[in-house]
Symmetry: C2
Subunit: 218 residues, 2 copies
Amino acid sequence: MHTVFVKDGVRGRVGQAGPLNRARIVRAAMRVVERDGVEVLTMRRLADEIGTAPMSLYRHVADKREVLMELLEAVSRQITGRRLPASPDPRRRLLDTVTVVHDVLEGNRWVVQAVLAVEELPPSALHLSEHMFAAMREAGLDERAAAVAHTAIWHYTWGHVFFGHLSATSARTYDQQEPAGRDGYEELAHVAPAMRELMTRDVFREGLEAMVDGFLAR
Amino acid sequence: MHTVFVKDGVRGRVGQAGPLNRARIVRAAMRVVERDGVEVLTMRRLADEIGTAPMSLYRHVADKREVLMELLEAVSRQITGRRLPASPDPRRRLLDTVTVVHDVLEGNRWVVQAVLAVEELPPSALHLSEHMFAAMREAGLDERAAAVAHTAIWHYTWGHVFFGHLSATSARTYDQQEPAGRDGYEELAHVAPAMRELMTRDVFREGLEAMVDGFLAR
DNA sequence: ACCTGAACACCGTTCAAGT
DNA sequence: ACCTGAACACCGTTCAAGT
């Protein structure tokens, strides 16, 4: 295990400061997840990171799910904490808000896997929906249209972040197969250069604008 | 383990017919996954379903990933095998094609989790992209626009299937909190009835149409 | 040739015991 | 009061041995 030492008459472990508590657990979990990814976050590994025994964690959190939910809350507050986009143009404000969410998720891919594991969004994510609905209403959507658009936009955003690297993989798969005109794949051969070009930049915003404009045009 | 019996002079196990092979493994895996979900599909459980030892599977498949990939291929061929939508109107054809994919995925939620685990689409899924690209070209999109739309549509579709039940959960979360006018959530209170109404039907097609029309309008 | 039991290096979590 | 070792019921997979 870890080296045990004595300092100021207090028995402690390497990297440890003060008694174990929920905040310290969450901070350590965030460190592990940002450094090594969410699939590496196990209760045993987390305990190791803190320098304690796996079972000690259970005095402060009910289970692993609760740890993940705390991480999601932290990210959610990271978004809603700073001022949300406030452009006077509601269309612009909606696009900017969703883009902020996208950018944060893109920078923290583990979030989507955590959401999948927890199967729930953290409470403070409602702030984002509130902000989006205000913009949609101001842009002229009625309640029903706004509800549909809200759902569609979220799904697009989740899909984009999560399947982004999968799209890249699939593109590579196609590339590895014959470059041009393989029987039955003439269309794909035709758009292949364009698809390759797409891989180099993030096209989230373009799809988002198309979708939002589609809703606004009805 | 399983009861061993002798029949026709051949030593066998309950539910077993003939020697172990890849096709029989895949069929058993499909049964498990459709009955109990993909999270229940373990090599041990799969062996149990067939009535063999876990290690016997490894003579016919390299690893669990390969089993999942075979399942994905089966579903993909289930879509591309039957005739794909062929409406003369390309917009309609595109919408119908994606809707077929959505419906199959909706009926087999485990597919998305399998895709996440495998991190790749089965080769035959390229048929669908081919079909989509042909429709998009005929509808007047250039290569670049088609590539962007293709990516956006896929992401929306994945997001919809996978986060569909999550949206439902989140909506319930909001419902359980105060029904109306909780401080700072006036907009949400306002659209809550519309959102509840949405839960009762599938609104995938509506979001898809908005997105496609948004792309066609550029 | 084909199959499989034991074992390895993992999980999350319970429970009884330590200080 | 707070922490933790041993144990349970799991994983995917390797390896050596069985028939």
